[in-house]
Amino acid sequence: MFERFTDEARRVVVLAQEEARDLQAEKIEPVHLLLALTRDQGRGGDVLRAVGVDPDGGRAALLRSGDPLDADALAAVGIDLDQVRAAAEAAFGPGALERRAAERSGHIAFADGSKRALEEALRYVLQLKTPRRQRAIDSGAVLAGLLAVGDPLVERVLRRLGCDAESLRERLGGASAA
């Protein structure tokens, strides 16, 4: 499938893996694709920059939106994360709860949402009214695919940055845009 990707789109995929590794994630999540797109120099990155989304802003928004140990969400089901953390640290030492599973050996797998984002990128390109031979998946298509999946964390990050999926879709254009 990657043979249909432009070089810049492939670079987005590589950058997404870098982001996932930097953030010590288990898998490459849709939000890592978003962060990668903020570093893209092609159409995908252009659209994000046009609405004020940049790499630093993206990272900062993610840190504030998406701590996987979501204290508020846990509190909603009656779990006090502070207490759990204190108990874990008492038994296993400082930072116990921050330890992840096995160290990454290099290759990180794609989460299902990320795989679907790339499939949606292909679907987006196939809908465009361009000649068959020009239907390469560029970084704009990757962004379109990402938005099509509607990952909650991606949407939270975009909202925190003051933009929304709909206006991004309009800027990208395509068969389904107005």
Binding site: L69, D70, L74, A76, G78, D80, A88, L97, E103
Partner: protein, 73 residues
């Protein structure tokens, strides 16, 4: 920060948005705790099979998830 006594637990039952977000956070918390407990069990000489039995999963699953970073496979 919210505390369990302040926040209504109605969210857990009525609102899928918050409820599913809570499930996701619980899974993440469970994963972190699993790393700590499996490591502790191995340090005490538990076999992968014993750990798998305690977790209610297959030995292969535990091995795949936890053995890759340890020398004592």
């Amino acid at each position: 920060m919210a505390s369990p006594t302040d926040v209504t637990t109605a969210a857990a039952a009525d609102d899928p948005d918050t409820g599913l977000r809570a499930i996701r956070a619980l899974r993440e918390l469970a994963d972190r705790l699993e790393v700590l407990q499996v490591t502790a069990a191995r340090d005490r000489g538990w076999s992968w099979q014993q750990i798998a039995d305690a977790l209610g999963v297959s030995k292969q699953a535990v091995h795949k998830k936890h053995a890759t970073s340890r020398r004592d496979r």
